[in-house]
């Protein structure tokens, strides 16, 4: 896993417009391996846009993102970078004709995962998917599809794990299991960046909380610093 001292992700002046709407004005952020960073904010504040740009899925209108000193938005991307970053969006993107197990096999194969059976078994068990491993996405509920997607995102190797609204649609036991797993991921030295409206989940997991408001970082720091800034009351935190 990554060296925890150097900034693993560096976003400088990151912004994105959709036509004449500015989704993200300007975001400056440095994040290190071994920490968990929560992006919180109201709807439309720019959290998903920022995460999508960290993952290279969305081109910035301005600014840059470097992960392990590699420009994320270099044309055509980089296989090295793709090996570093695992992004799980909020909307499930599953093959309609592949089962839960097929998805895990495919992702494991595409990423050359070692000891795949062990890891797959652990994740299926963790998310309560073991007995549903042979079901197709259309046979799964929204929450189970989200769990399948999370399992795929967690199966592959990564140094940066980006999760957009990971707990939306999850039941409390799965939420707790994910919390435990992400803490372990963090302890192993990976960076976990996630957005959420579940402030309890954010408080329990995140080392730093970044409040995004109107496309800018309103405040970033520990839970106590966010509380002291006055944003906590605004967002119903603490």
């Amino acid at each position: 896993m990554a060296d925890t001292q150097r900034p693993l992700v560096v976003a400088e002046g990151l912004g994105r417009d959709f036509g004449d709407v500015t989704a993200l004005e300007s975001l400056d952020l440095e994040m290190n391996g071994g920490e968990a960073v929560a992006l919180i904010g109201h709807n439309g504040s720019g959290k998903t846009t920022a995460l999508s740009m960290f993952a290279g899925r969305l081109e910035p209108s301005r600014g840059t993102v470097h992960i392990a000193d590699v420009d994320v938005h270099r044309r055509g991307g980089s296989a090295t970078l793709r090996a570093l970053v695992s992004f799980v969006p909020d909307a499930p993107a599953l093959y309609p004709d592949l089962t839960v197990a097929d998805h895990l096999d495919l992702v494991g194969m595409a990423h050359g995962v070692d000891h795949m059976d062990d890891r797959t078994g652990m994740l299926l068990d963790l998310f309560g998917l073991e007995e549903r491993r042979h079901l197709l996405p259309r046979e799964l509920s929204r929450g189970l599809r989200q769990k399948t997607q999370l399992a795929c995102g967690l199966l592959r190797p990564y140094e940066v794990l980006i999760l957009d609204e990971p707990v939306s649609g999850l039941d409390p036991p799965s939420r707790q299991a994910l919390h435990t797993l992400l803490n372990r991921v963090k302890d192993e030295g990976a960076l976990v960046v996630f957005s959420t409206h579940d402030l309890g989940f954010a408080e329990g997991l995140a080392d730093r909380i970044v409040v995004v408001s109107d496309g800018r970082v309103a405040v970033a720091g520990t839970r106590e610093e966010v509380v002291a800034s006055g944003w906590a009351r605004e967002l119903g935190l603490g």
């Binding site: 969305l58 793709r82 993107a93 990423h111």
Partner: protein, 522 residues
């Protein structure tokens, strides 16, 4: 390390395992294709016998239109590249395969290879059809003509596919293609003029579409200077274009691929349910890249009963193109009306122009119908909302018609008395056109399942679904035109008032029907 091919073959293998289609479904597919081929053969057979065109030269002249057809087709494929393109990944493919360390270039090349096969297939089939038909009609060797047509069409299709890829991967090229549309329309007009005036050299050397036609015409017996050079140029262009796709296979952003993938799944879903309008809107949004014109315009605050008038006015102000198109249709109607003396067929232009103008102005009704349930935000029932949405279109159409009539009067095409009579009757004509058009616009797209489940009745429903509005408007206008036109040169007469009374009654009846129709979500 796993290769891209291994991953793709894994996905294909698992797909086959989970494919729940039965053997009978596959046999039905094969039967349908065979049946279509037999029917096509039956249609083409008389052509092959050479019975249809007694004068072979006439067919050569018809082939002279090929540059126009190929140019428009080429442009269509490039436009397709602005929101889709030859490389289309599904969202799961993007999420799980392109985000992996697999060689992205190879994954894109796999898609480009598939697109090339499709392009070659299209070229072979269309070339073979043109070649065989031309050989039969011109009584010339089928081999030479077919080879020329197939070779030319395959080269053009490959070149176009490759260019479409460049449009797909490059946002700036995509924008250029969007912006060039008016220029391309003008160029198409010039090509048409060139063909009509027999300027064959100009059309054949106007670009790759002309180069693709030269060899076909030459094999058909028309002397075409430099057709071999054209064939070489076309082949070189195709090869260069294909090579350029290979060298740029990794030059596409995830952003573009995701946007296209999401647009494709939405458009496919819309088309699956037969909702052509929704699919068209998705394509339009895909091209527009999020920009909404006239966003800074604000709704004029009016009193409660006039709220929808304020809303409809705002929509038209934001979409001035709708008024422009309606004005163009009104112009067609006026010109057709002026030229209709002695040419009764042009009356179709009068009715068609006016009806299309009314239809264009009813965008808000379509928007209302697209969003089932949205009308519940309003304090009025659905039928009343529909009627209210007709007010602005009636007023705008009336004004457009007034401008048209006045221009025709000023130009001396119609007399002052006729201008007066037509101006008085215009608002009532507008009402009798807008209300039936609103009946059509307030319906959702035809439910395709009715065609399958309802058999003949389903087909009949499709016809009535499509023609109810135009037929109602046509009946009203056809009957009232008798009074409108009788003694029109004497200005406003009793017949004018009879026409007004009839049109007002018809409009009231159409309005009552529109008001009684159930909402989409009921």
């Amino acid at each position: 390390m796993t290769t891209e091919h291994q991953v793709r073959s894994f996905v294909r293998r698992r797909r086959r395992e989970h494919d729940r289609r039965r053997l009978s479904d596959r046999l039905i597919d094969i039967y349908t294709w065979l049946l279509a081929t037999v029917i096509a053969g039956i249609v083409i057979a008389p052509l092959v016998k050479g019975d249809l065109v007694p004068h072979p030269d006439a067919f050569l002249d018809t082939l002279g239109w090929l540059p126009v057809v190929l140019f428009v087709a080429t442009w269509g494929v490039l436009r397709f590249g602005t929101w889709q393109g030859p490389v289309l990944f599904t969202t799961p493919e993007l999420q799980w395969e392109l985000s992996s360390p697999l060689d992205r270039r190879q994954l894109v090349l796999l898609k480009l290879r598939r697109a090339s096969v499709v392009a070659i297939g299209v070229g072979v089939v269309s070339g073979a059809v043109v070649g065989i038909a031309a050989a039969a009609l011109l009584h010339r060797g089928v081999l030479g003509l077919s080879l020329a047509a197939v070779g030319a069409f395959v080269a053009l299709a490959l070149m176009t596919m490759a260019l479409s890829w460049h449009v797909e991967r490059s946002p700036s090229l995509g924008r250029a293609v969007d912006l060039a549309t008016p220029a391309v329309a003008a160029l198409t007009g010039l090509l048409v003029v060139a063909v009509v005036r027999g300027l064959e050299t100009a059309t054949l050397w106007s670009g790759p579409w002309g180069w693709a036609t030269g060899p076909v015409l030459a094999q058909g017996g028309r002397p075409v200077a430099g057709w071999i050079i054209q064939a070489i140029l076309l082949a070189l262009a195709a090869v260069a274009a294909v090579i350029s796709t290979v060298s740029t296979a990794d030059q596409v952003s995830d952003d573009e691929l995701w946007r296209r993938s999401e647009a494709r799944s939405s458009a496919s879903a819309a088309l699956f349910f037969g909702n052509v309008r929704a699919a068209r809107n998705i394509a339009r949004r895909g091209r527009a890249r999020g920009r909404v014109r006239g966003r800074q315009l604000r709704m004029v605050r009016l009193s409660q009963p006039l709220a929808l008038i304020a809303r409809d006015t705002l929509t038209l102000r934001r979409n001035l193109g709708l008024i422009g198109t309606a004005a163009a249709y009104v112009a067609v109607a006026i010109v057709s009306g002026i030229a209709a003396t002695g040419r009764p067929l042009l009356v179709v232009g009068v009715f068609g122009g006016l009806y299309m103008a009314a239809s264009r102005l009813l965008e808000t009704i379509r928007l209302e119908s697209d969003q089932a349930g949205a009308h519940r935000m309003l304090p009025w029932p659905w039928g009343t909302v529909m009627i209210m949405h007709c007010v602005v279109p009636v007023v705008v159409l009336t004004v457009l018609v007034w401008i048209g009539i006045l221009a025709a009067g000023v130009g001396g095409f119609i007399g002052a008395a006729a201008v007066e009579a037509l101006a008085v009757v215009a608002p009532f004509v507008a009402g009798a056109l807008v209300l039936p058009s609103a009946i059509s616009a307030s319906r959702r797209s035809f439910p395709v399942e009715m065609l399958i489940s309802g058999a003949e009745l389903g087909a009949l429903s499709l016809v009535t679904w499509l023609i109810t509005g135009p037929v109602l408007a046509l009946i009203a206008l056809a009957i009232s035109s008798r009074w409108i036109l009788s003694g029109i040169d004497q200005g406003i007469t009793m017949d004018t008032f009879t026409a007004i009374a009839f049109l007002a009654t018809a409009t009231f009846a159409f309005g009552a029907w529109l008001k009684s129709r159930p909402a989409r979500d009921e």
